[in-house]
């Protein structure tokens, strides 16, 4: 008996290996052509201009110690941002995983709006709210009679951390919350019946099962903050520099491409090492459990405790995530002569008859179009990768898992330059083609798809799949009928992230998009490029439109997810 099952398993495994290679073939090819090849080209041009490697640049990197200082700052600010984000978002993830309440899915979707806003705009929002002359300070000064603004966040590390939490709250909420909502509350209840305190029950029972979800979310947040750029530049001011910022300064302003390339290499190697350790930890962390229907895991608000918890959380989120966004909307409506739609109306006029005038509808069209193509490509790349990584394949997993995450942690300046010199000859003469923008977006979007689905896939107990196989279902059928329904929800979360990442992407877009195909963030920057009240107002109006478009996109994706037959 035992040997028979073993033999079956073995045959499943060998046939699985062939299938596995097929699975990752497309993603690997994609990565090879659109990531490694451009990267290799820019590195060889920068580091070995005469065809010979000049090690001087690598040694120069470590000679002054400033690079290590930058790496250290980059790492600790990212770690601290991650811890803060997880700590603040975990209670919210619990509430969204366990309760049903009106407006829930709308609120949940809207938490991702910060993700799409350009950092200049987020900086403007925070300044309007918390800056030295922001609403809060003016209010405090008015009420308590402070002579100087009591809150001084401008150009401080606190401002960087706040903005990072503001941006990434949604990642933890959605990935951990989605995972948590599949977990039967009975487990924790049973522990408490057996005498555990609620804290013990969380720490000993719930947390170990949740860990893959928390780790996946933390990883994304960490990488995001590690390669943070605009937030550091604008909110932190020139005193702070992440590796990404240093690369930008070296490449763009000091014209020191070798140094920029060396820094990029440092960034990539560090991230690879970090990811490798992470993967080792992650693989042993998965606890299998059978995902439950939301009908059993979620409950309505009944008691006062429920009420306090749910509405308290929602209130906190509205204040923390909502008020800066609201400040933007208010700015877009407050003109010199009171509240009006002046800035919105002027968006539709090409006052100077400029060739580069951007029609709002056109910019929205391109933004949404690029985002949808990115979404489709990210799913095509991310889904096979997640399925491949969901089974432990020994060395292949520990090598490929970090590899597939690297694009997210690679400087967009480096990659942008790589695209310019690598993709310039047929058949890859893509520099002037439209597809190059969604291609670049996909590189940063598909890791979100992978990380959203992976925890759920890994925790599906092997016996469920195996029973289906033993009962005669073909592997493909097992996937569609058994596995897919269980991860549909996290697939939708991944799709939302891919969409969002693309809509808000700016670093690579400014290199690659053509003036005829503007996106909304490019339009915002165009307005902010010249002085004058109308320009500022129009930038705020365009930002508000960007938020609305994003929210509409989310609602549409939510509709797709719930589908006609309702949620699993």
């Amino acid at each position: 008996m035992d040997t028979g099952v073993d033999r079956d398993r073995a045959s499943v495994r060998t046939s699985g290996n062939h299938a596995a290679i097929l699975l990752v073939a497309l993603p690997l090819a994609f990565l090879g052509v659109f990531y490694f090849y451009p990267l290799f080209e820019i590195f060889s041009v920068s580091l070995a201009p005469a065809g010979q490697l000049d090690p001087g640049n690598i040694t120069a990197l470590f000679s002054t110690g400033s690079s290590l200082r930058i790496l250290w700052f980059t790492t600790w600010q990212a770690a601290l941002s991650t811890v803060l984000t997880v700590t603040l978002a975990l209670p919210a993830a619990y509430v969204f995983a366990r309760y049903r309440f009106p407006g829930k899915s709308l609120i949940q979707s809207c938490t991702a709006i910060p993700f799409v806003l350009p950092s200049v705009v987020v900086a403007a929002a925070f300044s309007a709210l918390l800056g030295d002359r922001g609403l809060v300070n003016e209010w405090l000064m008015g009420i308590w009679g402070f002579s100087a603004p009591p809150i001084r966040l401008d150009q401080s590390i606190a401002f960087i951390l706040t903005a990072h939490v503001f941006y990434n709250f949604t990642v933890v909420l959605r990935i951990v919350g989605g995972f948590w909502s599949r977990l039967h509350p009975g487990l924790s209840h049973a522990a408490q019946v057996l005498g555990a305190s609620p804290w013990q029950a969380f720490w000993k029972v719930t947390f170990p099962i949740l860990r893959p979800g928390i780790m996946a979310a933390s990883l994304l947040v960490f990488i995001f903050c590690f390669s943070s750029f605009g937030v550091i530049l604008i909110l932190g001011g020139p005193r702070y520099a992440t590796v990404e910022v240093a690369i930008y300064r070296q490449a763009m302003h000091l014209f020191n491409l070798p140094m920029a390339a060396a820094l990029s290499l440092l960034q990539i190697c560090f991230m690879f090492a970090f990811m490798w350790v992470y993967t080792r930890l992650q693989r042993s962390a998965s606890v299998p459990f059978t995902p439950e229907s939301l009908k059993t895991t979620q409950r309505d608000i009944v008691s006062n405790t429920d009420r306090v918890m749910v509405w308290g959380t929602v209130f906190f989120m509205l204040v923390f995530l909502g008020s800066p966004l609201l400040a933007l909307v208010v700015r877009s409506l407050s003109t010199g002569s009171g509240m009006s739609l002046l800035y919105y109306r002027s968006l539709f006029e090409n006052a100077g008859q400029s060739v580069f005038y951007i029609q709002p509808a056109l910019a929205i069209g391109y933004s949404v179009g690029f985002a949808l193509v990115t979404l489709a490509m990210s799913l095509c790349i991310g889904l096979p990768v997640a399925i491949f990584l969901s089974r432990d394949r020994g060395r292949a997993t520990s090598l490929l898992d970090p590899l597939f995450m690297l694009p997210l942690a690679t400087s967009s300046v480096t990659l942008g330059f790589g695209y310019i010199i690598a993709l310039d000859e047929p058949p890859l003469n893509l520099r002037a083609s439209l597809i190059i923008v969604p291609l670049a977006h996909t590189l940063v979007a598909y890791p979100f798809v992978v990380r959203s689905i992976l925890p759920g896939l890994r925790s599906i107990p092997a016996h469920i799949r195996e029973s289906a196989l033993l009962l005669g279902a073909a592997p493909g059928k097992v996937w569609w009928k058994v596995v897919a329904p269980m991860v549909r929800r996290s697939l939708a979360v991944g799709a939302v992230f891919a969409f969002t990442v693309s809509i808000g992407e700016f670093g690579a877009t400014i290199f690659l998009a053509r003036p005829e195909t503007p996106t909304v963030p490019l339009a915002i920057y165009r307005f902010l490029g010249q002085p004058g009240a109308m320009n500022y107002g129009q930038a705020m109006a365009m930002s508000t439109i960007l938020m609305l478009v994003t929210a509409a996109g989310f609602l549409f994706l939510e509709k797709l997810r719930t589908g006609p037959e309702g949620e699993f």
Binding site: V120, A123, A124, S127, A128, G131, R133, Q155, L233, I234, G237, P238, R239, R249, M252, H253, L254, F255, L257, T335, G336, S337, L342, G352, Q353, S354, V355, F356, L372, V373, A376, M377, C380, F417, I420, I421, D424, E425, R431, A432, S433, L434, I435, P438, I510, F511, R514, P515, Y525, R526, L528, G529, Q530, P531, G532, A533, M534, N535, Y536, G537
Partner: protein
Amino acid sequence: MLSVLLAAGCFLTGCPKNDAATEVPVVTVMTHDSFDIGKEVLDMFEKEHGVRLRFLKSGDAGAALNQAILSSEHPLADIFYGVDNTFMSRALAADIFVPYSSPLLSSIDESLVLDKNHRLVPVDYGDVCVNYDRAWFELKGIPVPESLGDLIRPEYSGLLVVENPATSSPGLAFLLATVGTFGEDGFVEFWQALKNNHVLVTDGWEDAYWGKFSAASKGGRPLVVSYAASPAAEVYFAEKPPETAPTAAMTGSGAAFRQIEFAGILKGARQPELARRVIDFLLDTPFQQEIPLKMFMFPANRNARLPEVFTEHARLAHGPVVLSPEIIAEKRDAWIRAWTETVLQ
């Protein structure tokens, strides 16, 4: 899913506009984000020469130039517009431009022609200097600063915001103004005094102007490094055109650095002959008269008429600092390093 992707891919790559069919030659101009031009002027040129101009915007001035240099083997464009005098030496050293002595150079202000071989010809210029919030100074009853030296006086403590010269082109221009005014030996001392006087540094112009300048937004500082033409933009882009500009520029002797923008024909241009016509076009009055209100710079052509809002509200600096591109190229890194060590650390 795959079919959606393929369809989208086809839509994105396979539908080029039928330029080839109509056989209109295309000249590509690579430039930075701030470049702008009106439809009418462009249409006129395109009709006259039977050509279509395509513009490739590639980030800010530094990013765009870098891409032009990186792609020199397979040039992305025929013309590059937007090298300024701080980047000029690098552009010429990279040897990516071919000379063209346009007949229109005779109407160009000679002091702006820095490359005697005419690989790069001046198109426009502007002065980087301190702008101040008029209402703020009137309200406080403090006289406005008139020279760079004034900025370190105690009454202006905590009022100035500047851009980081390592990351911003007006920031670098302002640093060069201080080098020109106080000399290579004195500028560090001046910046030390500015630091003691609580100067605020931001990384880019956007953040300094929109984030920190009291006349433009909720910022708390009434002095900002911007352009001498910025007050004209404040009037032009106001909701209701005011009588006087809300801001003004400090244009006294030695208080400004003159930034000059150049254009040139790229080596390996596919349409060299038409590219020359484009350079002529960029130097000729119709386009030159577009420059003030599109880019808020001054036209290099002496015959170009300035619009009223410019003659009223934009000013040129008296005796701006001029440094040769060679000196800038040689010393820029050292100056920026000295600045960083003094101001940021």
